[in-house]
């Protein structure tokens, strides 16, 4: 059963420098009870995808096309008013920078209570109890006292837990986590990841987990979608992707992970940088950086190719192989 069905989603922005195709023809589904990871370098359109789903992009300048279905309900073109009923209550979101996700002038408790009050019929003391219980659940020590403190009095890890608690206190069916551990230091990262996995098991929330960190993904997610320059280039189960990466970009990403044996060597990396969003190259957008780039890659965008186990990859290497029999798989 899919909860969210995204089809041919496009989020373009009109800017003075041209049209930014931040998300260009992206399709995927989020299934019940799964953690789906969207992986890619900064600027590849992961966050824009998330914000598009929640209707957080201001239009204009954003131009959104395609379809996003939540339990069959079309979200593209939904009125702001209808979105208010959805945000927080059905789809919750947590952000990369917990420090800047809170209004600095209100206590964390007040902010959590404000959000819960919008979505539930509980009275004030009940809301307070619910939030403190949730604070306890996410491992905030002295939750009772912390309730009345201000964001600037907390550490980043603490605030991220609170943001998770606040979001889950509204009982969303779907949680979108936009790089929730990127701004935290490593020990706290692990705690937050474990927490998210535990909470997912407990509340049966489906999660879209956005990150650029493949290590994080390996630990947490069920399926992985790799994004590059506004497109999804590869989709696979987590084990499948790590064992049999297909797309040259995915291979590059996996090769760039640090290992102990690399000490003293030049670290592997993908040559070049992500192109700027208003000057994406023609054809396959990865071709200028791709070690296997062919003539066709510069001209036409490859269509997705399906492999076994739901593995999908958009790359001419495989399309060619399908067309002309006998070319050796590399």
């Amino acid at each position: 059963m899919s909860i969210i069905q995204v089809e041919h989603l496009k989020s373009f922005f009109k800017t003075d420098e041209g049209i930014v195709k931040a998300v260009d023809d992206v399709s995927f589904e989020l299934r019940e009870n799964e953690i789906l990871a969207l992986v890619g370098e900064s600027g590849c359109g992961k966050s824009v995808t998330a914000q598009t789903i929640l209707g957080l992009l201001k239009s204009p300048p954003a131009m959104i096309e395609g379809s996003i279905k939540y339990h069959g309900q079309e979200l593209v073109g939904l009125s702001n008013k209808a979105y208010h009923k959805l945000r927080g209550k059905e789809i919750g979101m947590i952000f990369q920078e917990p420090m800047s996700a809170f209004d600095p002038l209100y206590t964390v408790g007040d902010q959590a209570a404000e959000a819960v009050a919008v979505h539930s019929k509980l009275n004030k003391p009940e809301i307070r109890d619910k939030i403190i219980a949730m604070f306890n659940k996410v491992g905030i020590p002295e939750a009772e006292n912390r309730y009345d403190e201000y964001p600037h009095q907390m550490s980043g890890g603490m605030l991220q837990r609170m943001l998770i608690a606040l979001t889950l206190a509204c009982d969303p069916k779907v949680l979108i986590a936009d790089e929730p551990t990127t701004a935290l230091d490593v020990t706290i990262q692990a705690q937050v990841l474990n927490l998210m996995r535990d909470l997912q098991n407990e509340f049966n929330t489906s999660i879209i987990f956005i990150t650029h960190d493949l290590g994080v993904v390996a630990e947490l997610s069920d399926r992985i979608h790799v994004m590059y320059a506004g497109k999804i280039v590869e989709k696979a189960d987590v084990v499948e992707l790590f064992d049999h990466p297909k797309h040259p970009y995915t291979k590059g990403l996996l090769a760039s992970r640090l290992k102990r044996e690399m000490k003293g060597q030049i670290l592997p990396f993908i040559k070049g940088t992500v192109p700027r969003a208003f000057e994406f190259p023609e054809g396959c957008r990865f071709h200028p950086r791709c070690p296997h780039a062919m003539e066709i890659c510069k001209q036409k965008d490859p269509d997705p190719v399906a492999f076994e186990n739901g593995h999908v990859c958009s790359c001419w290497l495989y399309l060619k192989q399908n067309k002309t029999d006998g070319v050796e798989s590399q």
Binding site: Q51, L54, L56, N80, H84, K85, L86, R87, G88, K89, G92, M93, F95, E97, S100, A101, F102, D103, P104, L105, Y106, T107, E114, A115, V118, H119, Y150, H152, Q153, L163, L166, T167, C170
Partner: protein, 317 residues
């Protein structure tokens, strides 16, 4: 919080000493002194001038006079004697303080009541027709000199300035007199308020736009808060930086509107200060400057306290 306020109040004392020193030597740097005006008067002989100098204490070296002045202030609360009015300067300033402060405060109130809502409106509909119109009007407001605007309004309303019609000057306070005051007082408030109002509106608009783009606003929306509630958060955050501006505004209105006050014929301290400056009425000038500095300090103190009340980050550090 209490220690914060006490610390802020205590800081005023050394500040005022420094200010008194600067005030004294600034006025001292002015070429000539009170008796200079008699030098070209053929009816006053050089001997008489020396006599006047001696009587006023102007023959003493500056440092001695400064120490004496300071001593009188601290021990007796005596800020000196106006050469021109032959009365204690503190009395002269007190007489004008009431009108000065009430006009200044009403002006600030007027500015805020108009500027803040317009700034918010402008920011919520940016780059639309009304935003452009308000921006245009605001720039006119900033560009027109106050005194010139005063002249235009006086011409249009056929007013001769002042705060009362002639029959009410010196009359006891009655409802009729109060009504007459209301008919006059809007003019200086509108004139003095206009330029600051335009600036405030632009600042408020800028703050609002900054805050609307702040990451926490996205987070608030993602929690499903209705736009009205999100707006409340944004406005509160945008308003805070304005408070420090308000603290600085009081002295600005006192000292920045001298010419306007002369044009409008207002019984405030501005025109009075201007005359004192021309007359080399040293103690009056110094005390006036001290007074402005003191008001600045008080204004900042109040702004800081208010800011601390509203912003937990300041309150707790």
């Amino acid at each position: 919080m209490a220690s914060f306020i006490i610390r802020r109040i205590l800081i005023i004392i050394p500040m005022m000493f420094i200010v008194s020193f600067i005030c004294f030597f600034l006025t001292e740097l002015q070429p000539g002194d009170f008796v200079s005006q008699y030098l070209e008067n053929p009816r006053i002989s050089p001997e008489q001038i020396e006599l006047i100098k001696e009587r006023l204490g102007l023959d003493q070296p500056p440092m001695t006079r400064y120490v004496m002045w300071l001593k009188q202030i601290i021990t007796k609360g005596d800020f000196g004697y106006s050469f021109a009015f032959k009365r204690p300067v503190i009395d002269l300033i007190w007489e004008r303080m009431g009108w000065t402060i009430s006009i200044a405060l009403s002006t600030i109130l007027f500015q805020w009541i108009v500027a803040v809502p317009l700034g918010i409106f402008s920011a919520l509909h940016p780059y639309r027709m009304w935003d452009y119109i308000l921006t245009f009007v605001a720039f006119i407001g900033i560009s027109i000199p106050n005194f010139f605007f005063a002249l235009i309004l006086m011409y249009l309303t056929n007013s001769s300035g002042g705060l009362f019609s002639s029959q009410f000057i010196g009359a006891p306070l009655t409802w009729a007199k109060f009504y007459d005051l209301l008919q006059h007082v809007w003019l200086p408030i509108a004139v003095i308020g206009l330029s600051g109002l335009a600036g405030l509106m632009r600042v408020m608009r800028g703050n609002m736009l900054d805050m609307l783009g702040a990451p926490f606003v996205n987070s608030l929306r993602a929690r499903g808060l209705p736009e009205k509630q999100v707006r409340k958060h944004v406005i509160k955050n945008a308003l805070n930086p304005m408070i420090s501006i308000a603290g600085m505004e009081l002295p600005n209105i006192f000292s920045g509107t001298v010419i306007t006050a002369i044009v409008l014929n207002l019984p405030t301290m501005g025109p009075f200060f201007y005359t004192a400056l021309l007359n080399h009425d040293q103690y009056l000038v110094m005390t006036f400057l001290m007074f402005i500095a003191f008001i600045t300090q008080i204004g900042n103190l109040l702004a800081d306290i208010l800011l601390a009340v509203l912003d937990p980050r300041i309150r707790m550090s």
